[in-house]
Amino acid sequence: MSKKKSTGKNYDFLVLGAGGTGLAAAMYAARLGLRTLVLGHSHGTELPIGGIITTTHIVENYPGFTKISGPELAREIEKHALSYDLVSVKGGKALQIKKKKGIFIVKTEKTDYKTKTILFATGTRWRKLPDSVKNSSKFENMGLSYCALCDAPLYKGKTVAIIGGSDSAAKDALLLTEYAKKVYMIYRGSEIHPEPINLQRIEKNKKIEVINNTNLTKINGDEFVKGISLDRKYKSSNELNLDGVFVAIGHEPLSQISAQLGVKLNGKKEIKINHMTSETNIHGVYAAGDVTDKPFKQLITGVADGCTAAYYAYEYITKEKVMVT
């Protein structure tokens, strides 16, 4: 392993995805003496460095920070990773990955990088409303938003809905109540399922009204959103008048590029990993964070798996005596 500063094109550990998971893995890899490159924007989300946590208003479940904003936490993790000379973070997008004579070659628009090991920390992107919801494309950014953190302040004193029943949807609903006068939380299942602490907050918040067992069928409006249609009656009507609709209906794993190496995916297109080592079915190739088949997806778990991957990448390089030429 080289002890040189992390510049040039040859690396020990190359991380695809500059979210919290990827940056934490890079920090740990550097501690193990691995020359590490993190390629952000390689995952197709166009999210800035820091990944999906940057779209979370308040994070309260990351040790060391009782309460911190998502963007601020991401900046802290990035700063920590970059405090090691062996870590380099670049904005290139990986276009092609192949394995040649035991070495991985990652091709970006401008450069070909060589690396002994790879970590996919490519994360996920927000799932969009299906085409079966009429007018969902037409009203995107016209009152239909996928980023409550970005657009909530535009709905001061308005009535809005959040579609979804997860913890993310609950946190968006709570954020929206800081601006809107009324927030409907519409969920297809029988009961919303945020973390208990957020469920209690939802139940106590007088601005929030939860509508379970209900699907969105259509977004109504002229130039901008004016309301929605539901597949069952709520208070004797299938229509709800609204000024805005926010969507938090889950994520899609950004695992496509891993297929170029023959990495195995599950039915949800998540990367299958050994839950002890974070290794995929390909030797020297690891995955961590939201893109994997681990069921509990939090920054705290992604960070742990990223560090585990860095450790087993170190073991692999040491035992196999992999050389980049």
Partner: protein, 78 residues
């Protein structure tokens, strides 16, 4: 003289990114918080025909969202 305006909200990550980009390229700009300034919000919707932030107005050229390529082109940054 380049006249640059950013229409933003206080919590928007992309707005912060746009601000960071302009500052790092020493481009002077005016920022309007459409969350608290209703008139600015209406102006943004009128100019861009949509409600997502950020919206960046560079001498009348409207860029919706954070798009580094479009910003570089509009500001003639190489």
């Amino acid at each position: 003289m380049v006249n640059v305006k950013i229409y933003s909200t206080e919590t928007c990550i992309w707005c912060a990114k746009a601000r960071e980009f302009l500052t790092s390229h020493k481009v002077k700009f005016t920022e309007l918080d459409v969350g608290s300034d209703r008139k600015a919000a209406m102006e943004m919707i009128h100019k861009s025909g949509q409600m997502g932030v950020p919206v960046i107005d560079i001498n009348g050229k409207i860029i919706v969202g954070y798009n580094e390529g479009a910003l570089k082109k509009a500001l003639k940054i190489r």
